[in-house]
């Protein structure tokens, strides 16, 4: 019998999925503004369509987490609270071993982790900061190009913030996809957490988030048998 632990609700998965898709499309459409040679390759109508799509996607990207947070305020508080949890010894050891582990996963063994790994707190926290910077600067750029007089200096500064946030998100985003989509061999199957049913096998949960997995199994509230019925 394989036991599964539910980790993410349907709303979380929809929010994450919408953000992921809009983020990737924003990056692609944004490249038509960021990389002039790309613009030169396509007709002006394509560039214009990309520019308009970038604006619409930007609005989706900003509104999705806000709406999700309003629909489930307790979940939003829980989400953010996890990132400010005090680090214990295992968290520190996990972080110290992270780079050696990424380069030698067969040899390096990681300590048990709570609901959010220490490295996850840093990486996801960096992603969240990047997303916030991207969203605010993007909204200001849109306002400045349409109805608001923001002044030349502010517009230039905002554009620089947007470009830095893009670099930031590219680096952390690629790493996030590598781990989250399970391209990294020890993370195989984790894609199911956000793009599947939100459940993780007991074995994988014990491997990735040992403390959290045992707590969940002890509580038995989110534990399912073969991914179907609840154990209790």
């Amino acid at each position: 019998m394989t036991r599964y632990i539910k980790r993410h609700t349907l709303q979380t998965r929809i929010t994450h999925g919408t953000l992921a898709v809009s983020c990737i499309l924003l990056a692609i459409s944004g490249l038509f503004v960021f990389v002039p040679p790309l613009t030169a390759l396509v007709p002006p109508q394509v560039t214009l369509a990309m520019r308009m799509a970038h604006r619409v996607l930007g609005i989706v990207f900003i509104l999705t987490p806000l709406i999700s947070g309003l629909l489930a305020p307790k979940g939003a508080v829980h989400f953010f609270k996890n990132y400010f949890e005090k680090w214990d010894k295992d968290d520190i050891v996990w972080m110290k071993r992270f780079i050696p582990y990424m380069l030698a996963p067969k040899k390096i063994h990681m300590p048990d982790q709570h609901e959010i790994k220490s490295g996850q707190r840093i990486a996801d926290g960096a992603m969240i900061l990047g997303v916030v910077a991207m969203a605010i600067s993007g909204a200001l750029l849109l306002a400045g190009a349409t109805f608001a007089e923001l002044g030349a200096g502010l517009m230039m500064a905002v554009r620089l913030v947007h470009d830095i946030a893009f670099l930031w998100l590219i680096v952390f985003g690629i790493a996030h996809i590598y781990l989250g989509a399970g391209i990294f061999q020890p993370y195989r199957g984790t894609v199911r957490l956000m793009f599947g049913d939100g459940k993780i096998s007991e074995s994988d949960a014990l491997y990735h988030w040992g403390h959290w997995a045992r707590e969940e199994i002890d509580k038995a509230e989110n534990v399912f048998d073969d991914g179907k019925g609840a154990v209790k």
Binding site: F32, P36, A40, T47, L160, I170, V171, Y178, Q185, I217
Partner: protein, 293 residues
């Protein structure tokens, strides 16, 4: 590249606005029609600023003199066609670019995506955006005319000879000669503008009454952010390449990775390897609770 320049000599300008009209005619730009359609501004300057459909403007600096009369200092407001244009440096679509044949900052309208970065970067506040889907509108230097061996439309129409066009060095020589003459006649503030400002401009001006009266910034500066924006593109490429390379290496080292299936016996508090039956970890619940507390 040929280094051309437009010379504007304010000491010869009669502010007839013929250049303004010629610019509109040649470029097919609209004007408000009808009596007082442009609004009364209380000045002969019209419109008050460059806008989406006015690329060239003769400005009137009006001052009451000691005798109670009005003194005017005329100036030409339009693109300065910088030798190193910040607008072209930040333009993401290649709309604004330096015309190799003349050195003028030319415009390819059809490429404009309306981001308005150029308007933010220009130290003279020249580019404006125009139309229902606003695209950039600024002086093109009439590169279409220059290509045909003609002078810009504004220069062609100037009756008092305040505007001239030709080799930049030649225009600068004329300007210096004129300023020397003006100074000899008592116009102490007369100055040449556009020789060294921002590494040089392709519009050289003779400001008869000095820079303040002509509304020209004494030491125009391009925002440092323009340089930073130029760095961001290669930096992002390097960042993306580095992370992909690092993760690629990580992937290669992980090929063949396998691990046993784990199970937690919540009664015995043991983590068990299901493949071998070995107890990998015994959880001391008291310590776990203590740690949590």
């Amino acid at each position: 590249m040929t280094d051309s320049a437009i010379l504007y000599d304010s000491s010869r300008c009669s502010a007839c606005k013929g250049c303004q009209s010629a610019c509109k005619c040649w470029n097919g730009l609209p004007s408000p029609l009808g009596k007082e359609a442009g609004g009364c501004t209380g000045s002969y300057q019209s419109p008050l600023e460059l806008n989406g459909d006015t690329r060239l403007l003769i400005s009137f600096n009006e001052k009451r003199n000691e005798k109670g009369g009005i003194e005017w200092a005329f100036a030409r407001r339009s693109c300065m066609h910088c030798v190193n244009p910040a607008c072209a440096a930040v333009c993401p679509s290649g709309t604004l670019h330096v015309d190799e044949a003349s050195g003028m900052v030319a415009v390819s309208d059809e490429k404009c995506i309306g981001c308005q970065y150029c308007a933010s970067a220009c130290p003279f506040g020249v580019p404006h955006h125009y139309g229902p889907e606003p695209t950039v509108n600024k002086c093109t230097g009439c590169v279409d005319r220059i290509e045909q061996g003609r002078v810009p439309a504004c220069v062609k129409t100037c009756q008092p000879g305040a505007l001239n066009f030709g080799d930049r060095a030649e225009m600068l020589a004329i300007a210096h000669e004129r300023v020397a003459l003006l100074k000899s006649k008592g116009f102490d503030k007369a100055v040449v503008y556009g020789e060294d400002e921002l590494d040089g401009l392709h519009v050289v001006s003779v400001a008869k009454y000095g820079l303040d009266a002509a509304g020209l910034p004494e030491n125009p500066q391009v925002n440092d952010i323009v340089d930073w924006l130029g760095i961001m593109k290669p930096l992002t490429g390097i960042g993306a390449g580095a992370i992909l390379a690092g993760l690629g290496l990580s992937f290669l080292t992980g090929v063949g990775y396998k691990r046993h299936t784990l199970h937690y016996d919540e009664v015995a508090h043991d983590v068990v390897d299901m493949d071998t039956g070995e107890v990998l970890q015994h959880i001391d619940v008291d310590i776990d609770v203590e740690r949590k507390a």
